[in-house]
Structure formats: structure tokens, C-alpha cells
Symmetry: C2
Subunit: 443 residues, 2 copies
């Protein structure tokens, strides 16, 4: 993409309304624009990151055997009356009347609707297990929306719902999502630690939040240091291997890890001194087994092996991709701007042309741009007639992992500068070497 043809409305000043760094940097980098309180439009740069996050989530959901669907945003209130939540849900639910005065709502979550899809179509235990997910906009009418897309009213959510005949099956479905989440967050370039969460009236131990450590995090967390060194499950993990998955889950829940709500000070103090990590964290995922909470009142039953109809055991599994984008920035930034993990960077490479209009410089940039693009790499080519300083600042602000700086001085010696955003390392290399390093191939 040529920057002269892109829409990247960078802000020079720090926007006053932004209280946290991710909000500030997302506004400054031209990733989002607020349209109403807690409601944002995603501009081209932001959407690129959001889509890369979605793609990784989707791949790992699919790998685990979950099936993607797309439920609508507007729901009938009647479904929620069946589960009893229409009255229970407070003012966070955006209630709507349509032109025929029917009670509708903008879905804050989809347990009722997916249970309805299930009960309308599945009759037998032979069609289980089943896990249906979608990545769809939700609305929660927060009293005081803040922190940009970290806590917005309209937000994107990947929510998966599992259906099983019994608790044992549900536990395996839960473990599948647990492992899929470990892989997802590792691919997103962050270390996420599962922490036991409240199960409320459901009871049991099948509820975990996944938190990443960030000094600006909203929660206080305590965990064993070894979690930070754990290797995430490999891509060829067998999701049908019940014992194998349980082993992975056991390992990742074997050491101490808790948010302040579930903190057990005595247990934490008992850890060796050098194993104690006390830090701040951001929740980026939540998985939850809730048994027959919805299937029983909504009569989502299957015919079991013994011929009797039983309500299915369900769980739900959420990741908020729009919130994840902000969390990645909280976990990765410096004074100059955002430092993206490679996997979700909006462009993997930026090219700064230091003298637009100079034939040699333009030609070198064009060659690099063409070769990288042909290799399937997302490139942002800054071909604007701007000062070098402004170009460097833009690339650092928007966090491009690899930056190629091309100017007449370097080219006179046959060199361009290759800069690594994260380490700050700069190397003078030939154009061909630059291409080899960025594409991993000989030119």
C-alpha cells in the first residue's frame, strides 16, 4: 500500500479524552474514531489489525473442531424470557421496540439464541459433541464507557458454545477450548495465563479467565513465575485425545495463579520467593461451563443412548477481538508508539523514501516494494513528500516491525537501512540482502 493513497489520519497531539495508553495510541495512530460514547469506527489501519486478530482466533477455533456460524445482532425478547434473563439483565441490555411494537434487543451475548438453534435442529446424542461459534458485534450499554475499545458499548466478540450429552463430554469440550485459547494467545504474541474464575451457582472448577501481564492492566494478579516459561501446545495437538488434552490443562492449572478476587494470600506466600509474580493483568478471554442452565428451561434436549431425553450440558467461550487489540498495545508500546507482535502488525514492513522525486531513490523503493509485495508481505510504502523525521515518527507510532529506510546517501554506497522496531537495531545492508532478510528467500 502506498501511503499517498492510504487513509491514515495521524494525530500529532495526545487526545485529552484518552485515559489509557492503548486508547491514546489507537487514536493517534488513526486506527479508530469515536462516533458516540463507547461506539467506534475502525479506520483502515485499525481494521487490518482487528482482522489479523480475528483470523488467528478463527483458525484456532476451527482447528479445535468448532464450527463457525453468524448469528444476527438483533434478537427477539421472547427468547430471553424463556431463559429468565430478560428481566434479570439490567440496563446494560439495549432494549429496542420495532415498528410493530415488538420487544427486541441488541444481543449482549448469545446463549439463548444458540440454544434455540440447537434445539430446533439436534435430536440425538449421536450428533454430539457440537461447538458453534461466531465473531459478531455485541452491545452492552455501559453507564460510563471508557478506555476506548477496551471497554466500549459496541464491541466485537468471538463467542463459542459447546453442547454435550453429559459432564464428562462437556469437560472435554471445555479442555478443547482451553487448549485452543493457549494456542490463540501464543500466536497473538502474548503470554496469557489461565486463572480460576467464579462459577457462581453452577459450582465446580470449570471457569477460567485468561490474563496477560501489562503494567497498565486493570486487575491485580498473582502467579507462579514458571507459567511465563511454559511452551504452548503444538499445532498438531490431537483434540480428540481426551487424556492428552486433560494433561495439558492439568499442567497449565498446576501452579498458583489468581486474580485479586480469587487470591489466596497464604498459598501465594508459600511459593518460593523467586517464583512469586505479583503484577497487573488484562483479561482477554473467558471460558465457562454452565451445565444445563439454559438447556433445561429452554428444553434443549437430546435423546440419549438409553432412549431418554436429557437436557444438554453447555459451556461458553469468549474472546473480545476489539478488546484484544487494545490489550496488545497495553502490553507492547514505548514512548514512540505501538510495538506490534509480528503476527498482527497492520503491515509487516514499512518503506521510508527519504527523497521522493529522486530517480535513484524512487527506483530502489519501487524495487523493494514490488519484491516484498510479490512475496506476499504486507508493505506500507511512505511515498509522501514529507520530512524524513515525520516518516520515522509515523512508522514508529503505528508500530511497523520492520522498517526499510531508503535515501540517496545510503544508495550512493549501495545500501539501505533496515530497522527493527522492537529492538531498535539498525543495519546498513544492500537492497538484495534487505530482501533476503525480509522474505527469507534469495532474490
Amino acid at each position: 500500500m502506498r501511503l499517498s493513497r492510504y487513509f491514515l489520519p495521524i494525530l500529532r497531539e495526545n487526545p485529552k479524552e484518552a485515559e489509557i495508553v492503548s486508547h491514546r495510541l489507537m487514536l493517534r495512530a488513526g486506527m479508530i474514531k469515536q462516533e458516540a460514547a463507547g461506539i467506534y469506527a475502525w479506520l483502515p489501519l485499525g481494521l487490518r489489525v482487528l482482522n489479523k486478530v480475528n483470523a488467528i482466533i478463527r483458525e484456532e477455533q476451527n482447528r479445535s473442531g468448532a464450527l463457525e456460524i453468524m448469528m444476527p445482532t438483533v434478537q427477539s425478547a421472547d427468547l430471553w424470557r424463556e431463559s429468565g434473563r430478560y428481566e434479570d439483565y439490567g440496563k446494560e441490555m439495549l432494549r429496542i421496540k420495532d415498528r410493530h411494537e415488538r420487544d427486541m434487543l441488541y444481543g449482549p451475548t448469545n446463549e439463548e439464541m444458540v440454544t434455540d438453534i440447537f434445539r430446533s435442529n439436534v435430536r440425538s446424542y449421536k450428533d454430539l459433541p457440537l461447538n458453534l461459534y461466531h465473531i459478531q458485534w455485541k452491545f452492552r450499554d455501559e453507564v460510563r464507557p471508557r478506555f476506548g475499545v477496551m471497554r466500549s458499548r459496541e464491541f466485537l466478540m468471538k463467542d463459542a458454545y459447546s453442547f454435550d450429552l453429559d459432564y464428562a463430554g462437556a469437560k472435554h469440550s471445555y479442555n478443547k477450548m482451553f487448549v485452543a485459547y493457549l494456542r490463540t494467545f501464543a500466536r497473538l504474541g502474548v503470554k496469557a495465563i489461565p486463572m480460576v474464575a467464579d462459577t457462581g451457582p453452577i459450582g465446580g472448577d470449570l471457569s477460567h479467565e485468561f490474563l496477560i501481564l501489562a503494567s497498565t492492566g486493570e486487575s491485580e494478579v498473582f502467579c507462579h513465575k514458571d507459567y511465563l516459561g511454559f511452551t504452548p501446545p503444538a499445532a498438531d495437538v490431537d483434540f480428540d485425545d481426551v487424556a492428552g488434552l486433560q494433561g495439558i490443562v492439568d499442567k497449565w492449572t498446576s501452579l498458583y495463579a489468581a486474580t485479586s478476587e480469587k487470591h489466596d494470600a497464604a498459598a501465594f506466600e508459600a511459593l518460593p520467593a523467586d517464583a512469586k509474580v505479583s503484577a497487573r493483568g488484562i483479561e482477554i478471554g473467558h471460558i465457562f461451563y454452565f451445565g444445563t442452565k439454559y438447556s433445561a428451561p429452554m428444553k434443549a434436549t437430546v435423546n440419549g443412548p438409553d432412549g431418554k431425553d436429557v437436557p444438554v450440558h453447555m459451556g461458553s467461550y469468549g474472546i473480545g477481538p476489539s478488546r484484544v487489540v487494545a490489550a496488545l498495545i497495553e502490553a507492547g508500546h514505548d514512548e514512540a508508539g505501538i510495538i506490534w507482535p509480528d503476527a498482527v502488525a497492520p503491515f509487516q514492513v514499512g518503506i521510508a523514501n527519504l527523497k521522493v522525486g529522486d530517480g535513484t531513490t524512487d527506483a530502489a523503493c519501487a524495487k523493494i516494494y514490488k519484491a516484498l509485495t510479490a512475496a506476499g508481505i504486507d508493505v506500507l510504502y511512505d511515498d509522501r513528500d514529507e520530512r524524513p523525521g515525520a516518516k520515522f515518527a509515523t512508522m514508529d507510532l503505528i508500530g511497523l516491525p520492520n522498517q526499510v529506510i531508503v535515501g540517496p546517501k545510503g544508495l550512493a554506497e549501495g545500501k539501505v537501512e533496515l530497522k527493527n522496531r522492537r529492538t531498535g537495531a539498525r543495519d546498513l545492508v544492500s537492497v538484495d540482502d534487505c530482501l533476503v532478510r525480509l522474505t527469507g528467500r534469495e532474490p
Copy 2:
């Protein structure tokens, strides 16, 4: 994908509520489920098709230079008061009050919001042209929603908005979209004919609807037969070539084509007898230049080359992907079910195992499944313990373009059957030849 692990709730009976063939077949093929009047969930098979349609639309929008963003579904009423449309828009607009009693609405379209994004960020004519699009859910509260996703209340829309300094620039932007639409529809496997549409108070001739011919279409259309033989623009068309694009648009508007609303019986009668096509059609796209209709009242201005601020000239360009899916079925089906164009088929190949549990048959199916999947082909493998007749009926109903039928009888002679859904042609071929034909590669 193994069908035993998929969610494909096929209906045996024709659903009574479905008045048109696409609605009937989408319900029967387990593509969609109605959740409320005019509100549908997309089940796995339907979503696959919808995503393939979206991907083609997106590629062609990007090729033309349009930039993807994502605007929220919920909008502030204040924006619509600025344009004057908040009062004008009737009951089709879904009006919402949030918890603070602020007037909000579920966007039926996004002219106001995109104009706001523009005016907040663009100051100079040097930043033009600009075309921003998104693919997002919209809501129009139809009195009597019907015809499934062909006329639903919550529907997906790709809407692009162009911004230019003057009419000449706007016309070129319009032509870019015209050409992108020709390419999009050709890639979707349909012949779409541009027809002049009403421009209302804006005047001029820059408004076209794109219609495909289908005997079940909602509109009466009249056109010159030669349109059906026109070659769509090539992938390397130069979108910066003003004269070149105008030439393409001129060619595609040179012959008679009109819906009944704009029909000129005398002009049509003047065509040679064998050139007259009188048929039914379905609108699947609409492009529209509307000048300063929104930019003037909303003060979306740029500083022009002469230093004066002028309101930008805008156009909007819509395709409804959810509606397109239904239209493709209206244009492609037979008694047995759907006939998808290859580019949007949910799976390119279906494998029917005629004797699940038979070692040789299972092994042959597994080999074919693995080889096709490795070649990047979407395959649905029917590994259920079902009668052959039910498997054939399912594959024809859901419209898989290529079907591989594998049974012990054929395998005894080293053969499988390869069936083409569209032509009905069946060939007995060896497994290796089958793979060569489907992948285009030697095994």
C-alpha cells in the same frame, strides 16, 4: 470437513413459509435459520458461501483503490439530524433510546457517518480522491419482511463512499466502482447488466443498478442481447486510466437496458428482433453519484487548489452480499437443489463414501480427502452411516460442483465416479485420475 463432524441440518420437507425458491433451498440446505421476522442466523454452510461472496467483493473493492474500514451498527441520531434525514426516514429506521435516553438508531446506511469521518480528518484536496467502504450489518425495519435473506430486516451490505474535489473527479470514482462491479459479478459467476436508475433531485446520469437475469426475478427488465456476450474487464485493468475506464463504462452503457420503471418501449421496439431480451431480473448492486447532498449540510469541505473551501462531491456504491447469495440461487438451481458457481460453492468437492466401515472404501476416501485438502481444496467428506441415495440427494441439494462417489463395486475395478453437479456428467476414473482432474496436478 467430515460431515459426521459438521452441522448441516437438512430439511426433508419444503418449509411452508418460503415463497421463493432461494428461501426454500436455503432453509432446506441448512444454510440459514430464521430467528425473528426478517432476521436470520447463518449456519455453517450458508456462512461459507457468504464469506466467499464477501471475499470476492473485498478483493475487487481493494483492487479499485477503495479502502476498507468498519463503521459501527449503532449510530447517534444527531448525525442524521444534521443531514435532515432523521425526520425524513420513515418507520424503516430502527430507532433506539439508550440508557441515558439519548436517541440512537441501527444504521440502515452510512452516508452521514462516513461524511463525519471524512470531515473530521481530511482538510485538503491533496488527500483526494478517497473511497472508504465497509461490509457491515444494516437494519431496515420492513413492514412485511419476506423472501428470506432476499429482503430481510437485518442484512449485510458492502457500502462504499467516494469523495472528490469536483464532478470530473467524482465521475472517475464512479467509473472505478462501475468497473469493479462488473469484475465482481463476473467472478461471482453471474452476468450482471448495468441499467440506468433514478437520480431523483440530483439529476444527471450517474446512477446504475446491476441486475442479473433470473426467471424468478422481482423486476421486469428489457435489454439488448449483446450485453450477455460482453467480456468483463480484465484483472489488470488500470484504475488510474481515466479515458480507459470511461471507455469501458461507455461500452457497457451503449446498448439498450432498462428496468420497467425506466423502460422506453419505443426505443426497445426499435431494436432488431433477435436483439430484444425481455426477461425478469434481480437487482444485486447499485451505484449512485449524489454530489454535495450530504457534504454541504454537514460541512464536509476541503481546501481546493485555489485556497477556497468547497464541499466534496460524493457517491455511494452498494452490494448486499446476503442478498447476492439468494440471487445466485434464484439464477442457479434445478429440481434437486442448488447449483453454485464454482467460486462461491461452500465446498468445491464432495466425497460420498457408499460403504462406511468397508476397509477399502474408507481407505480410498481417506486418500482422496487428504490429497484434495492438501491441495487447498474445500472438501466435504460424507462419512456418515447413511444410504447412498440420501448422500447423493444431500450433495445435489447443497450444490457441490464436483462429487466423488466411492464404493466397493467401483473400487474392485480401481474406479471411482466423478460427477459434475451442473452438467450431470458422470465419469468412471481411477483415484489418481480423479485427483489430477480435481487438483490440476499430477499426484
